[in-house]
């Protein structure tokens, strides 16, 4: 009998033994970060580049981790790719024709230069002489034109054609409908130069121009409807980036070798090995030096990575923001226009009050450890020139929220702690929130509590979080169950908010329309807006206007951090948008630092 008791103990001991061995690896520093006084990281504190004063070794090899819990899809072409992991793979071997400045406007420092005509409707692009594909053939103007011909073609199976800029190329519509065999607005001047003419002058040309060439000599014999699945894109793609693909293990890893012929000079690293690493083990992989750089690093692992001695964290502000939107109407598909006809949130004092009620600073500090911080307008600070920090942002002020609600007539008549609407009827707000990750539920609950504190009764739609597809379906279809919804936007490199807030844009999920909004948005991408100062004035005014109307409450701005091993040198946080980034990276020792 005693032996049997021992067995129970033994099993427990085995379990404990396994656990202890796992626990013994905990880094001493991060042991007590849970205590009060959680140090807040301000994204400003993250260096934009790696500090490394040692001498680089020659011909080093770098290990890059693509943090993802699914394999990368492998559609390695800019016209056809969908998932972000594929873009991570492409950044090494396939680069755009233009480099960009800090506002993501194209410059002349990259593989091509450009000139704008006086009426700003025609851009002339000249590809530099020493830009060649990795198989040796030169990159020609015909290659650049070919890219447009693929996207505009009626057999094209990707999503790039939907872009307004793309469709406003002269002759594009006719080509797309099959009426013309070429795009009349694109003229080949010589093998290295072409010009593109647009139907109207739009400053977004400088941030949204399609900048990728496709190798016509290599892909030209594949029918366009079969291009997306071709082996020439999945198994053996070519580009003119600093590296070329040596070998692909589908979905798992890619080996890149140096492109000696790179236009900006021979890259310093000899090879780069990219492999997919599960987000649950990335911190371990970093600590053991198995990987040098972790791209797409998940925010929730930040605290685990923070204390490690062998890595540095570089970061920059993301081209995105989180928001809570009000459903103010519906999308009329027949007329292709937004109609603002929902009376529930017409009073802008109600919307402003709800914005005053939420404490986004606590969310950013406590839930995201400072990686996110309160958003103050609908243009994020990742656009340093356009972001207006004086846009009359609404901060956290529950007293003011209560005052506004009282003014608007929302008073608590029956004393149950919740306000009734100005007609005295019960007032419930239905909140749609997406599930995903550990943070989603506490965040939703926290917002609901913030509103409860000012007397507003907010409930989750169907009493729970919505899955990704259901969320978008309900928001896109203006499901009456949804009053407010919390989402996030990636703005992309083009600052123009028209695509998200315009009157005839289906992505304007809040369905907010107004004449002033129309005017400001139109002015913002009109020809006059080529003048930087004018455009800034318009966007400043727009940001202030939106902060007053509040159809959408901007909640948080986000940051991108990348952990990098100490032996890496020359890597900057903007490596995702700098075309020459990887050519300048080196390592200062043959083996990575281990913790």
């Amino acid at each position: 009998m005693k032996k049997k008791h021992g067995l129970k103990f033994l099993s427990l001991l085995v379990v404990l033994g396994m656990l202890l061995s796992a626990c013994s690896n905990s880094t001493s520093g991060s042991g007590n970060t849970a205590s009060k006084g959680n140090a807040e990281e301000n994204i400003g504190k993250f260096p934009k580049s790696v500090k490394n004063n040692k001498t680089p070794i020659k011909d080093g090899t770098l290990h890059y981790a693509l943090v993802s819990d699914t394999p990368f899809e492998g559609t390695l072409n800019y016209a056809f790719y969908e998932g972000q992991p594929d873009a991570d793979v492409m950044q090494f071997f396939d680069i755009p024709l233009f480099s960009v400045n800090k506002n993501y406007e194209i410059t002349n420092d990259g593989p091509a230069t450009y000139k704008l005509s006086n009426d700003n409707k025609t851009i002339t692009v000249t590809i530099k002489d020493n830009v060649n594909w990795s198989d040796g053939k030169p990159v020609t103007a015909q290659d650049y034109e070919y890219s447009f011909l693929v996207i505009g073609n009626k057999d094209y199976t990707g999503v790039r054609y939907g872009d307004e800029l793309m469709q406003s190329i002269v002759g594009m519509k006719e080509y797309h409908e099959g009426k013309a065999s070429n795009i009349s607005g694109i003229k080949i001047i010589n093998d290295k130069t072409l010009s593109i003419t647009f139907t109207k002058a739009n400053p977004s040309l400088l941030t949204g121009l399609w900048a990728y060439a496709m190798p016509k000599h290599y892909l030209g014999d594949v029918p366009i409807k079969d291009l997306a699945k071709s082996d020439k894109i999945h198994k053996a793609p070519i580009g003119f980036g600093p590296f070329k693909i040596k070998k692909i293990v589908p979905g798992e890893s890619v080996e890149f070798e140096r492109n000696d012929d790179f236009y900006a000079g021979k890259p310093k690293l000899k090879s780069i090995i990219l492999k997919v690493v599960n987000p649950k083990v990335i911190v371990q992989a970093l600590k053991k030096g198995e990987v040098d750089v972790a791209g797409e690093f998940p925010e929730d692992q930040y605290m685990a990575a923070k204390g490690s001695k062998n890595i540095q964290l570089i970061g920059q502000i993301d081209l995105a923001y989180n928001y809570i939107g009000f459903k103010l109407g519906h999308w009329d598909a027949k007329k292709s226009v937004n109609v603002m006809d929902n009376p529930k949130f017409q009073d802008k004092r109600l919307r402003q009050a709800m914005a005053y009620a939420i404490d986004t600073k606590t969310v950013g500090d406590k839930l995201y450890h400072g990686l996110r911080f309160p958003a103050t307008s609908l243009i994020p600070p990742s656009f340093p020139d356009w972001y207006d920090k004086n846009a009359n942002a609404i901060g956290y002020d529950p007293a003011k929220a209560k005052k506004l609600l009282d003014e608007a007539g929302y008073k608590d008549i029956d004393g149950d702690g919740f306000r009734e609407d100005p007609n005295g009827k019960k007032f419930t707000i239905n909140f749609l929130f997406m599930s995903g990750g550990d943070i989603a539920e506490p965040l939703a609950k926290f917002y609901i509590q913030c509103w409860k504190n000012v007397g507003l009764n907010v409930q989750l739609v169907d009493g729970r979080l919505a899955e990704f597809n259901s969320f978008y379906k309900m928001v896109q279809n203006d499901d009456p169950k949804v009053d407010i919804f919390a989402g996030a936007w990636g703005t992309g490199t083009d600052v123009d908010p028209y695509g998200l807030y315009g009157r005839d844009v289906s992505f304007n999920y809040s369905r907010f329309v107004s004449d002033k909004n129309d005017q400001l948005l139109a002015d913002g991408h009109s020809e006059k807006a080529f003048d930087h100062a004018y455009r800034k004035k318009i966007y400043d005014e727009w940001q202030t206007y939106m902060n007053d109307e509040m159809p959408v409450i901007p909640t948080l701005f986000r940051s991108n951090i990348t952990p990098v091993n100490n032996r890496v040198k020359g890597l900057n946080a903007n490596y995702g948008t700098d075309v020459n980034a990887w050519a300048n990276v080196t390592v200062t020792s043959a083996t990575p630092d281990v913790e």
Partner: protein, 322 residues
């Protein structure tokens, strides 16, 4: 026997047909479609182009037509196009099936290699310290969910001890076809196969142990002993073979898991395979892949159960099929 097999195969057809209708209806019933996810990465698409794209992909045809198109394709071996991966489904699945089957077979072999001896020891020498140890180990592995176990194994053997690679199915720098290539493939297989095997030994050990304990008490064993048969022959020849029955019943079943893959193992070890493909395709509403995988796994299950029954009848004369 042949008639039996033929009759079973005939029955498979209506079953698969009903399955195909069900799965097709289900796929369309789920909120959202493959384009929902695409749009999230390119929000500047206008509604008109969206309609055009949907039309091109055949997504706005009436349902019966879409179904008919799909079934016709099935019979020609064309499983359609994966909207997310943009390559034919057949190519997509073929690429990942190899990996999955390799891992699945490894898990199967390992798990039986571990479970059968342990079960026999446990059953034969009941209540000794060996038995208690095995039973204890059984409980612990049973109580631990697979993904936790896989993570622990990965941490301890992959990161801390560094004995095995921590992700992927092959070292990219190994040359195809060389000895080093095969060794690398095996090397990458060890940790996931080991985690998967340990967790699946539980049921086998339990049943085997139970069967042996029951069989031990049966009369024919007493008779054998009375006749002077050696103890080891009693066990190895008489008891063991009788106790394998329930396990034989599960064998055909296991084939389904070999083909189906385990989404946990594949995700944690970065090992691209079918299990993960299935899950992400559901999440991303990539219908052609989902329906193709369901049909394949449905077929595999039916074949598996048929195999199971055949094996059972071969092993146990009492249930022999005439």
């Amino acid at each position: 026997m042949l008639k039996f097999i033929l009759r079973r195969i005939v029955f498979m057809i209506p079953q698969l047909l009903i399955l195909s209708i069900l799965i097709f209806a289900l796929a369309k019933a789920m909120p959202g479609d493959a384009l929902t996810g695409r749009l999230a990465s390119n929000p500047k698409m206008d509604a008109h182009t969206l309609m055009e794209l949907k039309h091109k992909l055949g997504m706005d045809d009436p349902l019966p037509i879409q179904y008919g198109r799909w079934i016709k394709g099935l019979f020609h071996g064309d499983l359609g196009m994966s909207i997310i991966h943009q390559i034919p489904v057949t190519q997509l699945i073929a690429g990942k099936l190899g990996n999955t089957i390799l891992l699945g077979v490894a898990v199967l072999i390992l798990s039986y290699l571990i479970a059968i001896p342990l079960g026999v020891i446990s059953g034969r020498w009941t209540d000794t310290w060996a038995d208690k140890l095995i039973v204890g180990y059984n409980y612990v592995t049973f109580a631990t969910p697979l993904f936790i176990f896989a993570l622990l194994v990965l941490f301890i053997f992959g990161f801390v001890l560094g004995w095995f690679p921590t992700s992927g199915s092959i070292d990219i720098q190994a040359q195809n076809g060389t000895f080093a290539y095969y060794m690398s493939k095996l090397n990458h297989l060890v940790l996931p196969a080991f985690s998967g095997a340990i967790v699946s030994t539980t049921v086998t050990i339990q049943f085997l142990r139970n069967e042996i304990i029951d069989t031990k008490l049966k009369d024919f064993v007493k008779t054998a002993r009375a006749k002077g048969v050696s103890e080891s022959k009693v066990y190895n020849h008489h008891i063991f073979r009788n106790s394998l029955l329930p396990i034989a019943a599960f064998l055909g079943y296991d084939i389904v898991y070999v083909i189906g893959g385990s989404v946990f193992l594949e995700s944690i070890y970065g090992y691209p395979g079918i299990g993960q493909l299935f899950l992400t395709s559901i999440m991303q509403r990539d219908y052609s892949v989902v329906t193709a995988l369901v049909m394949i796994s449905g077929l595999a299950t039916l074949v598996g159960t048929l195999l199971s029954d055949i094996i059972l009848s071969a092993v146990d004369p009492r249930i022999r099929i005439e």
